[in-house]
């Protein structure tokens, strides 16, 4: 078994420059909060940094995607548990959309869309978000999630179908 080549600081920085935005978009569709989404991405990068001597540069991408997925799911589960225990509806409120690119005029439209994404089954949401944001091939995603390539395609198709049905083609087109 070959020894890990390790990841230099320059490589780590390059990874951040390339993957910050797509990873952020994945995390955001789990927690729906801009700063928390960025924190999740940072957590993943800090974990990678802590393990840099034991990592191979060529598998760092995969590590980061899996980390962000796992941390996002964990944060989301915790938010839902807190919401259940405290009755604080704001914890997962779609009205608290705070992405810097959304203005007030589009909040209602995005609230509906976010609800539709949030209602997707976990398996469909994961595949959809990876396909749309990771720029990985279906083969790479199938390896990441340990599912057949055909399953990646079918889950993505099903997820889009459910979103279009829930959100409505009329409002999303144009």
């Amino acid at each position: 078994m070959r020894e890990a080549s390790g990841i230099s600081e320059a490589e780590w920085r390059a990874l951040y420059g390339r993957l910050e935005k797509p990873l952020y978009n994945l995390a955001y569709r789990y927690v729906w909060r801009a700063q928390e989404s960025q924190d999740i991405v940072h957590d993943a990068f800090l974990q990678l940094w802590a393990r840099r001597d034991r990592m191979f540069a060529e598998t760092a991408d995969r590590y980061l995607w899996i980390s962000v997925l796992n941390i996002s799911r964990q944060r989301r589960r915790w938010s839902k548990a807190k919401q259940f225990l405290t009755g604080d509806a704001e914890l997962l409120s779609f009205a608290s959309l705070d992405s810097p690119e959304l203005d007030a005029a589009r909040v209602e439209e995005h609230s509906s869309l976010h609800e539709a994404i949030d209602r997707l089954p976990e398996k469909l949401r994961t595949v959809l978000l990876l396909v749309e944001f990771s720029e990985m091939s279906y083969e790479a995603i199938s390896g990441l999630l340990s599912i057949p390539v055909g399953t990646v395609a079918s889950r993505r198709h099903l997820a889009m179908k459910q979103l279009r049905l829930a959100f409505g083609d009329g409002r999303a087109s144009g």
Binding site: N25, A34, Q38, E101, A172, S173
Partner: protein, 109 residues
Amino acid sequence: MSSPEKLLPVLSPPAEGWKRLMARRDAPATASIPWLPFVSGSLAATVLAAFFLVSRDGLQMQLNGARLMGERSQGIGLQMLDNRQPTALPSGDPNVRLYWVEPVQPPSD
């Protein structure tokens, strides 16, 4: 037909993310308790401690009572000796009392 780009627009993260990441990376390590495992471990320890410390005597008494009740339910009556007066016998444990009992002899037909 709505496109993925419309349904899932690519958003930009908050500004100065790299600066914040570096600040976190280079911050001095603080000894922090990972509170979730700490809380769940504390709860588990509390439950175990309560089981062993609080209910031990009660559990023992219940077990004895259950045994006696079990015997009684099988038709074995018990009576205290010494003219049906409770006679405590010395035991090594101040929380334990011993009484002389004997099975009640069923009336012979």
